[in-house]
Amino acid sequence: MTVTPTSYELSHLGYLEAEAIHVFREVAAEFERPCLLFSGGKDSIVMLCLATKAFAPARLPFPVMHVDTGHNFPEVIEFRDRCVADVGARLVVASVQQSIDEGRVAEEIGPRASRNQLQTTTLLDAITEHGFDSLFGGARRDEEKARAKERVFSFRDEFGQWDPKNQRPEIWSLYNGRIRRGEHIRVFPISNWTELDIWQYIQREDLEIPAVYYAHDRPVFERDGMLLAESAHISLLPGEEVTSRRVRYRTVGDMSCTGAVESAATTIDQVIEEVSVTRLTERGATRADDRISEAAMEDRKKEGYF
């Protein structure tokens, strides 16, 4: 922690870190079967770091789960496995492909097909299968306007639904984690962090992140004003043309719906400089899944999405 002992002041990152660690410990103390959602993206890397700190020198008192759409960046999957092994955590992989194979969900078809929506079923099935009563997620309130209204402890009913109009008041740092069997709580320890805080923390803690976050040359094509990566998971529409550009990713989700931004930032310092002056929000710039409507995120969350 960044501490100036004489003045007893905590930096903003120190404050945010302390708040998040408090939340991690509160859940570990009050729930029987927590689980940490982990995708290998920058927010979940910070989450894993905070969780590790919260329980040091002991290991994580809960497993780590990745909902794998099968359309992830291969370098991110490789990174995920390494990270989880490093902290000695148990990894649970919930596979969207398996949900499709078992007939739980139907694959979307066409050039705009995405497995994004399908994740919800896979996630809820995994929660039931493993009996998880609480799931840590790396969602932040600055990301999206529905998330700006979500509690740190966010109640989900037996269908996994979020009811934004009927949320429990959250006062001081007294979190209400009481649930009945079959219900669960989604827990968001980094609710109050911004994109810039995440990057500054990665810098401060010297955390390794997947290479796709730094500028690299990649074959991409333009769709809906975004640069999407060419891959086996997406087919081109008439008129779309693949070119090689120097890009990096601000968020890392499915290859089929995560856009890259043109960038020359190859170091953490350069990324921070870029993020400090950008005029577009992280999701606005890069996420096709949020562009469907004004309430796309709210609607997905109500159904049980992350």
Binding site: H12, P57, N176, N192, T281
Partner: protein, 422 residues
């Protein structure tokens, strides 16, 4: 960089959204795609101007009905400080939301329309800010442009507000004449108010001294979680994890553990790192740390580490102000509820409802037999276990609790401790 959390309260008409929009815009915290989306939606809804309220009204129902349902959190930074705004709506669920937003705030921002003066709602805002003991209150006297920046109009509102505030316990009260619409005294001092000698709002938010608001005297450490690695490497390690909520803890300090009353010394204070635990010289509020004690005592979650010569009160009877937050039930005498106080959970019975407070007149209705949604009253509670508490005015963490309905699991009340009951 330091972090300041502030809460804003007000209704649509007093220009609160415009003020927040102005702060965010000038601090470059509104992004181009957000602004475009708001412009698009404003146009669709037939608004004549870009409705900045849409930036914070994130839920479908809010946009459809043009109301704010819930507390929205917004973030911005200047080179001096980082800010978290808890933006609380003025009309629906007003008290409940303001209590929620105010509970973690260092500062409250209240807007008063200079033409209307101090209205009922301004009084409520001031009262709740003082009840929740937000250390700093800033009153923005808004719409100064509509009275030609007249100093007398400003002074009149200021005197009126001050009159009411005298009855409350407000430690730091600041007034700023502003026009949120035109930006006067928001970021820069306005040439339109040469008679005003204070600073702009943003400058005040950047400079207001908050470090001394913390309690560095009464050492309080509610044990949150016991870390026992049970590995060969850390075979005998037993660390008490938690958040410091008062005072300073350092190695060598003599401490007492409640409820057992045993005394021992602090062997080490540490914070987690990727490589294990790193030592911390001194831990203070609101750091999350792990404390190891010199003696092997029986300490578990819900216990309190403090100093032998400075202990919190301890007891099963609590005298408190509560704000009731349930739409479906009301608080009545002999009701049983779950109570959550620091890291301790217990059950509590309402042994007496002493009075209901009218937050407009501050009148105490001693004949009241219940508290409904958004009502505030003074109650006596009897708990199944002793709690280790301080007065809320002395410590916002050890002096606060929530009540939970055991049948529905809903959080139904926020409580602020006045002292021990009998």
């Amino acid at each position: 960089m330091e972090l300041l959390r502030f809460a804003t309260a007000g209704s649509v008409d007093d220009g609160k959204s415009t003020l927040i929009g102005r702060l965010l815009y000038d601090a470059k915290a509104i992004f181009q795609d957000q602004l475009e989306s708001v412009e698009r939606t404003s146009l669709q809804m037939g608004n004549e101007y870009t409705n900045l309220a849409l930036l914070t009204d994130g839920l479908r129902a809010e946009r459809e009905q043009g109301i704010t349902i819930d507390v929205a959190y917004r973030y911005f930074a200047t080179p001096r400080r980082k800010f978290i705004i808890a933006d609380t709506p003025g009309h629906i669920q007003y008290t409940r939301n303001m209590v929620t937003g105010a509970s973690t705030a260092d500062l409250a921002l209240v807007l008063v329309d200079v033409r209307k003066g101090v209205v009922e709602q301004s009084r409520r805002h001031a009262f709740l800010a003082s009840l929740l003991r937000i250390p700093h209150l800033v009153v923005c006297v808004n719409k100064m442009d509509l009275v030609d920046f007249d100093q007398d109009a400003y002074e009149k509102v200021k005197a009126e507000f001050r009159d009411f505030a005298m009855k409350l316990d407000i430690s730091d009260l600041t007034f700023i004449p502003v026009s949120a619409l035109h930006g006067d005294n928001i970021v820069e001092r306005s040439p339109n108010t040469p008679w005003y000698e204070g600073t702009s709002l943003l400058h005040h938010l950047e400079e207001v001294h908050i470090a001394s608001d913390r309690n560095l005297i009464d050492a309080r450490f509610p044990v949150q979680y016991v870390i026992r690695p049970q590995t060969d490497e850390h075979h005998d390690y037993r660390g008490y994890a938690g958040t410091v909520v008062g005072g300073v803890f350092k190695p060598g300090d003599e401490v007492m553990v409640l409820p057992s009353g045993f005394t021992t010394t602090i062997e080490s204070v540490g914070s987690g790192s990727s490589k294990g635990v790193v030592p911390v010289d001194e831990a203070f509020e609101p750091m999350s740390v792990t404390i190891c004690l010199s003696d092997n005592l029986d300490v578990s979650r819900g216990d309190m580490i403090c100093r032998p010569n400075n202990q919190p009160s301890s007891g099963q009877d609590i005298d408190a102000m509560v704000c009731w937050m349930s739409e479906v039930s009301s608080l009545t005498s002999s009701m049983k509820l779950a109570i959550k106080h620091t890291t301790r959970s217990a059950r509590a019975m309402v042994t007496d409802l002493k009075y209901r407070l009218d937050i407009d007149t501050l009148h105490r209705d001693e004949a009241a037999t219940s508290l409904g949604l958004n009502e505030i009253g003074r109650v006596l509670l009897r708990c199944t276990q002793p709690l280790f508490f301080d007065e809320y005015r002395r410590n916002r963490s050890t002096g606060s609790f929530v009540l939970i309905d055991e049948a529905t699991n809903a959080t139904v009340a926020a409580g602020m401790i006045l002292g021990g009951g009998s």
